[in-house]
């Protein structure tokens, strides 16, 4: 080996600029971590939906006599509410990019409100507010796979919405104090959009493709 080449091998320059990875390197650690967490969380939902698929495809009758069907118009309204909240969280991020703190806070509050409305709707669906609710109508956890998978999947999603609303309220407190960075709002937005995206899958698989 000649001296010239081995010296070249030895003294490779450091990567042109810090950070060494241009694409991922410019994202904040929090943003990268949130993306990774969302993929991970997506696999939890994947497992539950896979279980749902296995049980449903393996059963001769999915919905048994005496069990209620799921109301599509009502849940479509909930879906609309959740999609609207994705819009408001984008508007909050946009306001934050422009440095308008009060506007950011307002849109965050709107998002939290819409998320809470969704949770209220889910409560009404389970336990009933103006109408009897699914439990009283005979959809009881443990009675059938139809009921159990329904409560586990929508319940797990509902828990995410609840966590998301609490997360928004934290960011809102920061924002009201004028301390919410754009990055904080952006990472929150990632989580909120994920909840929304998962809901679209749940809405399609559990509600729209119901057994007749």
């Amino acid at each position: 080996m000649s001296t010239a080449t081995s010296t070249a091998v030895l003294d490779q320059p450091p990567a042109a600029a810090w950070p060494p990875d241009r694409q991922l390197g410019t994202a904040s650690p929090a943003k990268i971590a949130m993306w990774i967490f969302l993929v991970s969380d997506g696999f939890s939902f994947f497992a539950l939906l896979l279980g749902y698929g296995i049980l449903r495809s393996g059963s001769s009758t999915w919905r048994h006599p005496g069990e209620p069907s799921l109301s599509i118009p009502f849940t479509a309204l909930l879906t609309f509410i959740l999609i609207s909240s994705s819009l408001t969280v984008v508007l909050a991020y946009d306001a934050s990019l422009r440095g308008r703190q009060r506007q950011t806070s307002a849109w965050l509050a709107a998002t939290a409100l819409l998320g809470s409305l969704f949770l209220l709707g889910q409560y009404a669906e389970y336990f009933g507010i103006l109408h009897p609710g699914l439990i009283k109508e005979g959809l009881v956890l443990g009675k059938s796979s139809y009921a159990s998978t329904f409560y586990v999947i929508t319940g797990f999603h509902g828990a995410h919405v609840l966590a998301g609303v609490i997360y928004i309220l934290f960011v809102l407190v920061y924002s009201l104090r004028g301390k919410a960075s754009t990055g904080l709002v952006e990472v929150l937005g990632l989580f909120w959009h994920f909840i929304d995206l998962v809901w679209l899958l749940v809405f399609t698989l559990v509600y729209l493709l119901q057994a007749t």
Binding site: P14, W18, G25, P29, S40, A47, I54, S144, V152
Partner: protein, 595 residues
């Protein structure tokens, strides 16, 4: 120097906390968290090993009272292991070893200790999350211990926890519930750790530390963390559904007349379990591959052969591990066509695996091999992994699997890969980085005795299992000799058990060495870089200061810079650090550069 400002902003130097609580308990220092994982992992490794001895005793002398342990643990039955107790012993052994001993040691200890040090970072990206991850694991240990005292005894449904045995129909006691909860909780901790490791490696590498300049250890830990993040949630969902079945009367995993209503599917659990379970094998072996890949280069005093190929092979295995889980379920009535697809995919894994082994052998070939204790353990790891990998071919193919399924052959196979290989690699790493962690070296002679006792007897123990399985002995039999065709295996099993007892005896050599060095040997006189290697962690004092690096190093070369004639000429040694500047010429050198 904008570059440096940014690293400084991301990683400011904090002062070391002085209160006992912040320094030793809620520590956010990755090095302390690594030590927490080390202590807990080693203790549970010993507990899991002791349980294994009881299983081996039962197979050697079925129905005879267990000496020493029997009088402590089995007082009610006069020291004799009963059939139900036998079930709980092998279940607890398996779960403790996988989730509460090897995982914390290989991933918790090495991951935490090495990732920041080897990539040139001051700590993990989220130190607080790191501490939380350890305490989730600690909480799961509390649940494990509680499960041992559950009503109706500890968990008893096997490490795979298959329903319906794992539901209230088979194991109605609280021990099983607590154990499933423990696996769930430690899974949450693993995901937290995984998110943290991946983010740290992506974001906090020192300037110049390209992906292809990372030590192989970091690659192994990186890929393991990715697999953890992706597949532990699937196990979590399965455990969650199982807990609902056990506690809230759902019937996800129960079918047939017992349910009284149309209900679930026990096979569904197997799908969810093995979607996680097969990657888990690689979760445990990838860090081991990384560690021994580095050690072979370090102690052959040669660059690792075809570094990029090794990395590529590890990535290929990681990807393939996600699509082969069906080979655990050939016997569940799966469509033969599906079985065949899983078989082909499984056998394809042998291509990158062989590439890894060939790269290791080519690294060793012609090297100036130094048979240090870590190197011996690394060589042992390669050997037992080779045996484990080759026996995997029998099980990955459908036809031999029909015969070998659920025999001791399966037990021998996965113990060679998951148990023996990760066990020996853990010790390879521990002997190698102990000086970095504690500033002193473990005794060499004792280390060599430990190595020979470990590697010889571990091979005999699991080799004996392979033979027994090939001869037809089913796994999990309380007393195999109740079957007349297995009575002639009694001698083989008894000799295998003797090897197991000697294996345990060998571990006491390590325990003695460990405590003697830790508490009775003065930390002085150790060279800064006792192994003379080039990775970043050896360029700083041992043990490292709280913030690791005074200034973030600028990396200029790969992790295995050995035997370069220019370095030899200018520095007078056969290695140069990853961030070390190469002087223009050796001062006062008699020899001139050849130009």
């Amino acid at each position: 120097m904008t570059a440096h400002n940014e690293t400084g902003e991301l990683q400011p130097i904090h002062h070391e906390p002085t209160s006992f609580f912040l320094k030793y308990l809620w520590s956010t220092d990755h090095k302390m968290i690594a030590k927490q994982f080390m202590w807990a992992g080693l203790v549970f490794l010993l507990i899991g090993g002791t349980l294994a001895m009881m299983i081996r005793w039962q197979w050697a002398f079925p129905g005879a009272p267990v000496p020493i342990l029997g009088s402590i643990l089995l007082r009610g039955s006069g020291g004799v292991i009963g059939p139900a107790q036998y079930m709980t012993i092998f279940t607890t052994h398996g779960l403790i070893m996988i989730f509460f001993a090897i995982t914390p040691l290989l991933i918790g200890m090495f991951g935490n200790f090495l990732i920041p040090l080897q990539i040139g970072a001051r700590d993990m990206a989220f130190p607080w999350l790191n501490a939380l991850s350890f305490w989730m694991y600690a909480l799961s240990l509390v649940l494990v211990i509680a499960s041992l005292f559950g009503n109706l005894g500890p968990a008893g449904a096997g490490w795979t926890t298959y329903p319906p045995l794992s539901t209230n129909l088979g194991t109605p006691g609280s021990g099983q519930t607590l154990m499933v909860a423990a696996v769930f909780v430690t899974g949450v901790g693993s995901i937290m750790g995984g998110v943290n490791y991946v983010t740290t490696i992506i974001r906090l590498r020192a300037p110049g530390m390209d992906y292809f300049r990372m030590p192989l250890t970091i690659w192994g830990l990186f890929l393991t963390a990715i697999l953890n993040v992706l597949f532990v949630p699937v196990l979590g969902s399965a455990a969650f559904l199982l807990l609902l079945d056990r506690m809230f009367g759902t019937q996800f995993f129960i079918a047939g007349s017992v349910t009284g209503a149309p209900a679930g599917d026990p096979i569904m659990f197997q799908h969810l379990f093995w979607i996680f379970g097969h990657p888990e094998v690689y979760i445990l072996i990838l860090p081991a591959w990384g560690i021994i890949g580095d050690l072979f280069s370090f102690f052959s005093r040669k660059p690792a052969n075809f570094y990029r190929g090794t990395v590529g092979a590890m990535i290929a295995v990681t990807v393939l591990s996600a699509v082969v889980y069906g080979h655990h379920m050939f016997q569940t009535g799966m469509s033969p066509m599906l079985g065949k697809s899983f078989m082909v995919l499984t056998l394809i894994i042998s291509i990158p695996s062989v590439m890894l082994v060939l790269n290791w052998l080519r690294t060793l070939w012609g090297g100036s091999i130094r048979l240090t204790v870590p190197m011996l353990f690394a060589l042992g790891t390669m050997f037992v992994f080779g045996v484990g990998g080759l026996t995997g071919l029998y099980l990955g193919a459908v036809v031999p699997d029909i015969y070998l399924h659920d025999t001791m052959f399966v037990v021998g196979h996965f113990h060679f890969t998951m148990a023996a290989a990760s066990f020996l690699a853990t010790f390879a790493g521990l002997y190698f980085w102990f000086p970095k962690m504690f500033g002193k070296r473990l005794n060499d002679t004792l280390g060599k005795i430990h190595f020979w006792m470990s590697s010889v007897f571990i091979t005999l123990v699991f080799g004996g299992q392979l033979l027994a399985g090939y001869a037809g002995q089913s796994r999990r039999l309380y007393d195999p000799y109740q079957y007349s065709f297995l009575t002639r295996l009694h001698g083989l099993n008894r000799w295998t058990s003797y090897a197991a007892f000697l294996l345990l005896l060998g571990q006491f050599v390590f325990i003695f060495n460990f405590f003697r060095t830790m508490f009775f040997v003065k930390a002085s006189g150790m060279e800064a870089n006792p192994w003379q290697v080039s990775t970043l962690e050896w360029a700083i004092p041992s043990p490292p200061p709280y913030h690791n690096f005074d200034t973030i190093p600028i990396v200029v070369r790969g992790p295995h810079e050995f035997a370069n004639p220019v370095v030899l000429e200018r520095l007078g040694r056969d290695w140069i650090g990853q961030a070390e500047e190469l002087p223009e010429a050796m001062p006062g050198s008699a020899r001139k550069a050849g130009t």
